[in-house]
Amino acid sequence: MSDPALVKDHKDGIAASGSGAVAALRRRLLGPAALQKLLAFASLVLLLIYFSFASPAFMQTDNMINILQATAVNGVLAIASTFVIITAGIDLSVGTLMTFCAVMAGVFLTYWELPMWTGIVAAILTGALSGALSGAVITKMKVPPFIATLGMMLVLKGLALVVSGSKPIYFSNTENFSMISQDSLLGVLVPDLPIPNAALILIVMAVLASIVLNRTALGRYTFAIGSNEEAVRLSGVNVDRWKIVIYGLGGAICGVAGLLLASRINSAQPALGQGYELDAIAAVVIGGTSLSGGTGTILGTIIGAFIMSVLTNGLRILSVAQEWQFVVTGIIIILAVYADMLRRKRG
């Protein structure tokens, strides 16, 4: 059933990679951490193969674009969650924060009729501030992350409804807004590859997040705090400040997700959002990030996000009843994390 040739190719590709700087770079990008993700990656490939055989509608360009679009939103949210989860924290507010950011973009662009860039800045800034606020509640008021962000989740849900008057805000004044997510820059250059911008944005976000996580002080403290917060504090690092920054960064990334979603449906839907946080968390843990903190990769998270959206999409195409879609998705999440646990034990 599994496709050994494909897996083997992948491995050989790494082993046979060029010499010198290229090899070093490859090792960095695809190093052991990435190899560990092979398992999640293999399950993703398996799912793709299964669905393409099961339904001819699956491997159609339109459907693939759908999947990319859906993954973009959940993937970006999952990136935000990855940072927080590596610190051994949790952010339940990412879904409603995403919506609130989209609503704020709507306020700037549709209510106030300001230029597009202000909407983008407003969404990202709103996310950053809200995330930082969660961080401050967690560090300064010492409210556990689960509770603090549960509270924020409801607060933001309410605020999104209040600000929008409980009605969708359409981006009718900003013609280009839908381009952010729906157009295909790549498709213009390479007509055979009509990959939507949303997917490109996801890739760019993933690369940036990887760099931040693995090569900057912020990333180092993210892992360190998740590994042993007290030790970091005793080392003279201002843990509170860094945690606020980490939650703030997560919030800003939620702002990007909000823009992607709003642009995709060309409107800000204030009632949407709740529930996205659980999909994001599922993607993160399927990708091998531990909820107890200290370990995790962005690549894993992205693969996790793809598994989630391929699964949802595929089941829908196979006309599996909604009820059973939930059941299957739930079981897959548990199995994926269980497989990861087994691998870890052996490794």
Binding site: T216, A217, G219, F223, A224, N228, A231, L234, G236, V237
Partner: protein
């Protein structure tokens, strides 16, 4: 005489229900090694944590380098040049050695935006080289042995180039060679004028390394004396307020039937063909260097890791032990050497921990906890082991290190196993309490229990054991009776390297 680097007067610090320090005096000169001694819970760590900015003082004066200070957090103390190695390891297990050492001070590149991992690893390698440590700076700390982790902590503290370096029981997990290496470093620092505070429960280290000793008892200052002119007995007397004997503790009766027989036990590289017998009423000492495989033998028998091959017989009946629950059901108990990781639920209170492995005995109708009985048992052990805690409902993490260790012992005593493995039972325990624990082990043996005591402190093994088994690199290299056992003889067996391996690599 030069002006002191640190001088402390009238220092007081209380925690809820505990007066940890009362009117304490302390003085540290540049270029001196100043030992701080005292029983578990005497307040040594608390005093040091205040100096290092971890705790705030309640009242009193701290003068550092001529000015009064009150550090609000470790950062300020570090910036002022006060470094500390904490009693409990404070490492980030998922990070590498280099990343741990330079946490908060990572070298940067690209205008400070990115971390410079190459430089980080180079600097760490340099530092480890100075310490003569064969550790790759890129290994993950969580995979190192406790001893190596301790050396990483030491390297980290040294990397600050502090003017004051506080070491809170740095040698608790180190072997003699590592200790010698550490002492060499300390002497070098001393020559550079660094003031060093040294806390240890190992009395022999005092004479080797310290210039002066300050003794604390029950949170109060007792005296400061020059080490060279004071006998160990005097210092012990000041610590515990009475004198202690160090006579051998022999059993009341000869050993009885065989309680445990192990034949050809194999489990990974550190348990190779291990065979021994253990009789009722005897204390069998396991000696050897750190990493000789003694802990692994105990864990293999206890079912804590992979299932070992070989034969285990309890009371002449062959048993298969796959999990610790099996082991306990067969009357085998194991007291872990690493209490923080395996021994205690530190976030829970004293009484919950004491009855943890024996909860079934404290249930009414098999479900409801019998609070009164739990509290009574906890109270009994608190008195019996002289555990310093304001009450049985204090969280264990708030107790001093030595008192935490006593809780682990209480926990297993309550389980009432017939065969008990004590893995480094007196690590980090003060000399008074050590004697109590020795007496306790002997009393247990006299009750007919079979006891294995794993210890890296040779005097302790020699003093306590009825027989001594010595291990090296996973094998038993010899067995000694107490009469033939000298420190030299044990060390000889403990370093009897496997010749097979030499041949293989040659």
């Amino acid at each position: 005489m030069s002006t002191p680097l640190i001088s402390v007067h009238g220092l007081c610090k209380s925690f809820p229900g505990v007066r940890a320090l009362h009117n304490v005096r302390f003085e540290l000169l540049a270029g001196e090694v100043h030992a701080v001694m005292g029983e578990n819970g005497a307040g040594k760590s608390t005093l040091m944590k205040i100096l290092a900015g971890v705790y705030r003082k309640d009242s009193g004066d701290i003068v550092y380098d001529g000015v009064g200070v009150d550090f609000p957090s470790p950062r300020e103390a570090q910036a002022a040049g006060i470094g500390i190695i904490h009693q409990e390891l404070q490492l980030m297990n998922h990070l590498t050695v280099a990343q741990n050492i330079f946490i908060g001070r990572e070298p940067r590149k690209a205008f400070g935006l990115l971390l410079d991992e190459d430089r980080l690893n180079r600097q760490a390698a340099e530092l480890l080289g100075q310490l003569n440590l064969a550790i790759d700076p890129r290994t993950t700390v969580g995979g190192l042995t406790v001893a190596k982790q301790q050396m990483v902590e030491i390297a980290k503290a040294l990397s600050f180039n502090s003017r004051v370096l506080i070491m809170d029981e740095p040698t608790a997990a180190l072997n003699n060679r590592e200790i010698a290496e550490l002492f060499k470093m300390i002497r070098a620092l001393k020559a550079r004028g660094v003031g060093i505070v040294y806390i240890s429960h190992k009395m022999d280290e005092l004479k080797q390394i310290s210039d002066r000793v300050t003794v604390l008892r029950d949170g109060e200052y007792v005296a400061t004396v020059p080490t060279a002119e004071t006998t160990i007995e005097t210092i012990i007397g000041m610590m515990v307020g009475r004198s202690l004997s160090d006579a051998r503790l022999v059993g009341a009766a000869p050993a009885g039937d065989i309680a445990l027989e192990v034949r050809k036990l194999n489990c990974g590289p550190l348990v190779r063909d291990v065979s021994f017998t253990l009789r009722k009423g005897e204390i069998l000492g396991f000696a050897g260097l750190m990493g000789a495989g003694r802990t692994e033998v105990a864990r293999a028998i206890f079912g804590a890791d992979a299932v070992p091959s070989g034969e285990i017989r309890v009371n002449n009946r062959q048993v298969t032990i796959r999990t610790p629950a099996h082991a306990v059901a067969n009357g085998i108990g194991y007291l872990s050497e690493d209490r923080k990781r395996f021994g205690l639920a530190t976030g829970m209170d004293v009484e919950s921990n004491v009855v943890m492995s024996n909860l079934a005995n404290y249930l009414a109708m098999k479900v409801m906890l019998r609070k009164r009985a739990i509290r009574d048992t906890a109270g009994r052990f608190i008195r019996m082991l002289n555990i310093r805690t304001p009450s049985a409902s204090q969280e264990v993490r708030l107790l001093s290190g030595g008192n935490q260790q006593k809780i682990v012992i209480a926990k297993w005593l309550d389980r009432d196993c017939d065969i008990l493995f004590f893995d480094e039972p007196t690590r980090g325990i003060d000399i008074g309490a050590k004697n109590e624990i020795y007496r306790l082990l002997r009393a247990l043996a006299d009750q007919g229990k079979a006891i294995v005591m794993i210890s890296s402190e040779l005097p302790e093994v020699i003093r306590m054991s009825d027989r001594i088994v010595v291990m090296c690199e996973g094998r038993i290299t010899g067995e000694l009776s107490p009469d033939e056992a000298t420190q030299e003889r044990i060390m000889q067996l403990a370093t009897q390297r496997d010749t097979m391996e030499g041949r293989l690599t040659a």
